[in-house]
């Protein structure tokens, strides 16, 4: 089946088997290897991307389901060479060690902050239920999300002329 998927503003199209996982389309067809695969059962969240603005696990979708969708992957977060505040905060707060879960963590945190601009610690911990990290013990990830929330609010305020 022929699918067209827009990823980070660029259109990728290919004839694919219906069973091709979206995660494999992103990695193998589009060559965007920042999206990782860490489990088989929709638990670990390493493969999280935004599909039409919603955080989804790209290993639990077939590429054909995303035909026509707009995706954002970790590679699409930085703009003009400038890291996204979430990426910056993960760096500053040491919210990663081996880095394998990090793209998924950032994409899911992005979803959280788009729905809740100042989440509490408990809300952040709950929101990351679908993303496993084996290195950091999560504490610095929580801090990173809090820090990014602050930065994003400031940016919004500046943009709004506050």
């Amino acid at each position: 089946m022929h699918v067209k998927i827009n990823i980070n503003g660029k259109l990728y199209e290919k004839d694919v088997e219906p069973r091709l996982l979206l995660a494999h389309f992103i990695r193998d067809v589009a060559g965007l290897t920042g999206t990782h695969i860490g489990c088989e059962t929709s638990i670990c969240g390493a493969c999280t991307v935004l599909s039409n603005g919603l955080a989804v696990k790209s290993c639990t979708m077939f590429a054909v389901q995303a035909d026509g969708a707009d995706l954002v992957t970790i590679e699409g977060m930085a703009k003009d060479g400038q890291l996204h505040p979430l990426q910056e905060s993960f760096w500053e707060e040491h919210g990663l060690q081996c880095g394998y879960c990090t793209p998924g963590m950032i994409m899911c945190s992005h979803q959280l902050l788009s729905r809740n601009e100042s989440p509490s610690e408990a809300e952040i911990r709950e929101a990351l239920d679908g993303n496993l990290c084996r290195c950091t013990g999560y504490q610095n990830i929580v801090k990173a999300v809090q820090s990014a929330a602050g930065k994003l609010k400031r940016t919004t305020k500046v943009a709004a002329g506050d």
């Binding site: 088997e17 219906p18 069973r19 059962t41 999280t48 979708m61 077939f62 389901q65």
Partner: protein
């Protein structure tokens, strides 16, 4: 990680999906959010010959109040259900349950129709669906059918849906009077599925007595069930700590409980009693 190949068709309407199901004669599956089906396909425990994708039928993802009914389209995602003002106002337990399914990503994609049609014995929705006496509206070759919740969940992974039928809508009667509802669960640590989940819907009369009590329990048996004996013991009574405790002792009577490495049958049965009572207490609190 890699599913067996299958034929894939996008259905543009439910009627078309029903036709396609018929064409494949039981060897096709409906794909909505895919969160129950795709993991099973990747492990090759499910090997459907064809998938009929109803995920693109736009008019099926709604929550609205229609007179004395809350109507939820089969494709409403858990996130939509969790955050719907209508659901929160009229059937809070369902929103509670939706918010406890999986995680953000799963709730963004998984649908209420897909979940109840899959009828996992540890799914969250069925407890509330039963407690609210919901009606499941289905579409099949012979047209629409209204299936009461009490008849819908037949057994483990088995519903009253015919092979050619699809869930179209879930209808929940708007609760009258001073009614509250709540859903609580103990999640299995790895999967997040319910080891036990309990939904309670309680209506209080002017005197503070429980005019109506409904308790649905999931995760414990082969299918979700109503704790009818506990309900009977509570109905018409004024809630006291002692009464709630005694009545909810009956929440799992007669149930054959599931058993796995995460919880024994005895534990599940006791959790049913504990969570039934806690859900009733929480529902009263909200009434």
């Amino acid at each position: 990680m890699i599913a067996q190949n299958f034929e894939y068709t996008v259905a543009t309407s439910l009627a078309e999906a029903v036709n396609l199901l018929q064409k494949h004669g039981g060897r096709a599956k409906i794909l909505a959010g895919g969160h129950s089906l795709i993991p099973m396909m990747k492990l090759r425990l499910a090997t459907p010959e064809a998938l009929i994708d109803i995920g693109r039928i736009p008019e099926l993802s709604y929550v609205r109040q229609d007179g004395d009914m809350v109507c939820i389209g089969a494709l409403a995602t858990h996130h939509v259900v969790e955050t719907s003002g209508v659901v929160m106002r009229h059937c809070q337990a369902l929103a509670d349950g939706a918010g406890l399914i999986g995680d953000i990503q799963v709730r963004n994609k998984g649908t209420i129709g897909g979940s109840i049609a899959h009828a996992d014995p540890a799914a969250d929705y069925p407890a509330s669906i039963l407690a609210f006496d919901a009606t499941i509206v289905t579409l099949g070759p012979k047209g629409e059918r209204l299936i009461p919740a009490s008849k819908f969940f037949v057994d483990m992974l088995t519903t009253a849906l015919e092979a050619n039928e699809i869930v179209r809508e879930i209808q929940i009667p708007v609760q009258s009077g001073k009614t509250g509802s709540a859903y609580l669960k103990m999640a299995q640590k790895a999967s997040g599925f319910a080891i036990c989940g309990a939904a309670a819907v309680v209506e209080l009369d002017g005197s503070g007595a429980m005019a109506k009590v409904a308790i649905g329990i999931t995760g414990v048996g082969n299918r979700a069930f109503r704790a009818t004996e506990a309900e009977k013991a509570l109905k018409g009574q004024k809630p006291t700590t002692d009464l709630l405790k005694r009545a909810c002792e009956k929440a799992s009577s007669g149930v054959i409980a599931l058993e796995d490495i995460h919880a024994s049958a005895d534990y599940r049965l006791d959790l049913a009693r504990i969570f039934a009572r806690r859900a009733v207490e929480a529902a009263i609190e909200r009434a």
